[in-house]
């Protein structure tokens, strides 16, 4: 019983982390039509920034914010300097994001070395929480709550603000949005910033669970891909539902069949691709 409850909680925390990672990935894909293959690398970069800032005794949440802003800035530069010049050449843009992913991963290895760097959770959140006689790792509950708050804020941003309306219009029909006077290019920068910011924050918030290590990028990117393939491109509810499905399957898969943690991810993907290739919440993009 203890096993199932603890693993369920771990799954929810993992799902929350995956949401932070894949919400931005999904939005960028929805609006710019680019699977940003550097997204895993941005997540890892956030984790390393966070580890460095925490080592200099910065407050945990401030470190998450600063790392997020730093990674967001890198995302904006990437979009403005490299991707914008290749407008219309989607394959070229994907290859460039892949190239950037390799460069970031290699420079992280150069800067921070090959040993994993731990990120300590905020001290107040470290002790376990007791509910109904079971001990829960307190920090994982906080991660889950944090991700849900982020999901709510993102939903409000997308559904209740002018910027959100413009982003949704861009996702639905980019050409039409452009022709009614929405500055789609500026939206690209905004969404890229938002996506990279979330990935950077996710790297720090996930740090106490995952830590920062070389290869974190390659571990996270496929998870984000599977989330988006499951949930559907450009859909926030899709990213949320997909994250919790993947988080659960990945976590229980790792616990029950450690040899096949990655292979079990394959199963939900196959089922969704066979039943609904556009993903659970996806539509055909124009």
């Amino acid at each position: 019983m203890q096993f199932w409850i603890v693993q369920s909680l771990n799954s929810l925390a993992m799902g929350g982390l995956l949401f932070l990672l894949s919400a931005g990935f999904s939005l960028i894909f929805g609006l710019l039509r680019i699977p940003n293959l550097a997204h895993g690398a941005l997540f890892m970069l956030g984790a390393y920034f966070g580890a460095t800032l925490l080592a200099s005794h910065m407050n945990f949440w401030l470190a998450a914010l600063v790392s997020g802003l730093g990674v967001g800035l890198i995302g904006v530069v990437l979009e403005a300097v490299l991707l914008r010049r290749l407008a219309g050449n989607e394959q070229g843009q994907v290859l460039v994001t892949l190239g950037v992913a390799f460069i970031i991963a290699d420079l992280c290895l150069l800067t921070w070395g090959g040993d994993p760097m731990p990120l300590g959770a905020p001290r107040a959140l470290r002790p376990p929480v007791f509910i109904g006689g079971f001990a829960f790792p307190g920090y994982r509950l906080v991660v889950l709550g944090f991700a849900l708050v982020c999901a709510l804020l993102l939903w409000l941003l997308l559904e209740r603000t002018r910027l959100g309306a413009m982003i949704r219009a861009g996702v639905d029909d980019r050409e039409m949005a452009r022709s009614v006077g929405i500055p789609v290019s500026r939206l690209f920068s905004a969404v890229f910033f938002l996506g990279a910011f979330l990935a950077g924050v996710g790297g720090v918030v996930g740090g106490p669970i995952l830590s920062a290590y070389p290869g974190l990028d390659a571990d996270m990117l496929p998870l984000a891909l599977v989330v988006v393939i499951l949930g559907g491109v450009g859909s926030l509810p899709g990213a949320l539902v997909g994250s919790f499905i993947v988080g659960g399957i990945y976590n229980f898969g790792s616990a029950l069949f450690p040899d096949f943690a990655y292979v079990v991810l394959f199963l939900p993907m196959v089922v969704v691709l066979v039943i609904k290739p556009t993903g659970l919440f996806g539509r055909v993009l124009r």
């Binding site: 894909f29 039509r33 680019i34 699977p35 293959l37 490299l82 010049r85 290749l86 050449n89 989607e90 394959q91 070229g92 994907v94 290859l95 460039v96 892949l98 190239g99 950037v100 992913a101 390799f102 460069i103 991963a105 290699d106 420079l107 150069l110 390659a218 990117l221 496929p222 891909l225 599977v226 988006v228 393939i229 491109v233 450690p258 040899d259 096949f260 943690a261 990655y262 292979v263 991810l265 394959f266 993907m269 196959v270 691709l273 066979v274 290739p277």
Partner: protein, 312 residues
């Protein structure tokens, strides 16, 4: 075959044959052999990218899965070379048949993402399924096999073996290019809707191309395993898929010579750079950005256009 084509093929054969004479040391001949094996891999990926217009980022699956097939069958089950090779080719091709069904549920960038995800799943399996694959340590072969009475241990016979297979691959893919199927495949790349209206089964054409690419990829995978006499999850990794893609794009997608040129250039750069500095991935990333920004059509079409421009 016309006289000019015959002359071109004779030239290719001569170029392949002259390499062992020009590179007498086993070390450099070994590097040439690596390049030719990756040329076969790049050629197989070019069926998808160049002719089918389907960008796959998971082609390392068809290098790594048959390579693991060879290693496991040889070292753990003690199979002899011929059944091992046949099994590995069948395994790689069957994987392509299955993954093709999944990846072709989508097209364009969706296809790319699914192939990438499937590739990472296989990489994860090789990495974690320690009992079968040895995990990160990989599997080491005890040596190269003797095939049809010829021992492939030394650099020269192995080079000749690989060169013969590359020649065969080039010839088969040239025939494919000229066949009705090749024309259909290019049709589905350029005008899928018209092809459907003409009564062609677009999905089946693409799937067949995917399986063919998987088969020729598996050929390179078997050779890869015998070449390095070692296989590890690196053979299934995303950088490996990306390198193959870069070879195709750098050389020129859709041309016959492009992937070969790309494979030779990338292998040469990788070998030279790795002997001086550790930063191959940074260079790989930069090469990606430069190739996409500066010469999106690749070396072979670029040089061909330049030669034509000078003649005119």
């Amino acid at each position: 075959m016309t006289g000019r084509q015959l002359a071109a093929w004779a030239l290719v054969a001569l170029a392949l044959a002259v390499v062992p004479v020009l590179l007498p040391s086993a070390f450099y001949l070994g590097i040439a052999t690596h390049a030719l094996i990756f040329a076969i891999m790049a050629l197989s990926l070019n069926i998808l990218i160049g002719h089918g217009g389907m960008t796959s980022l998971g082609h390392a699956v068809y290098l790594g899965v048959p390579a693991y097939g060879v290693a496991v069958m040889t070292m753990q089950l003690g199979w002899s070379p011929v059944p091992t090779i046949l099994f590995a080719l069948a395994l790689g091709t069957a994987t392509a048949a299955l993954f093709g069904v999944l990846a072709l549920r989508a097209s364009g960038l969706g296809f790319l993402m699914i192939t990438l995800a499937l590739g990472q799943v296989m990489w994860g399996a090789a990495y974690r399924w320690v009992g079968l694959t040895g995990g990160d340590n990989g599997i080491r072969l005890s040596g190269r096999p003797t095939l049809f009475g010829i021992n492939l241990t030394d650099a020269v016979p192995f080079y000749i073996f690989v060169a013969l297979i590359l020649f065969m691959a080039l010839f088969c893919l040239w025939q494919l290019d000229r066949s009705a199927f090749g024309a259909c495949l290019r049709g589905t790349r350029d005008q899928p809707r018209r092809m459907r209206m003409l009564g062609h089964d677009v999905w089946r054409i693409r799937w067949t191309a995917f399986v063919l690419a998987g088969f020729w990829g598996s050929v390179s995978g078997v050779l890869y395993c015998y070449d390095y006499q070692y296989v590890s999850p690196a053979a299934l990794s995303l950088p490996q898929s990306a390198e193959a893609l870069l070879m195709v794009v750098l050389g020129g997608a859709g041309t016959l010579a492009g992937p070969v040129v790309g494979a030779i250039v990338i292998t040469a750069i990788k070998t030279i750079v790795s002997s001086y500095v550790d930063r191959w991935y940074t260079l790989l990333g930069l090469t990606f950005i430069i190739v996409v920004s500066v010469m999106p059509t690749g070396l072979v079409p670029g040089i061909a256009a330049w030669v034509k421009g000078r003649r005119a």
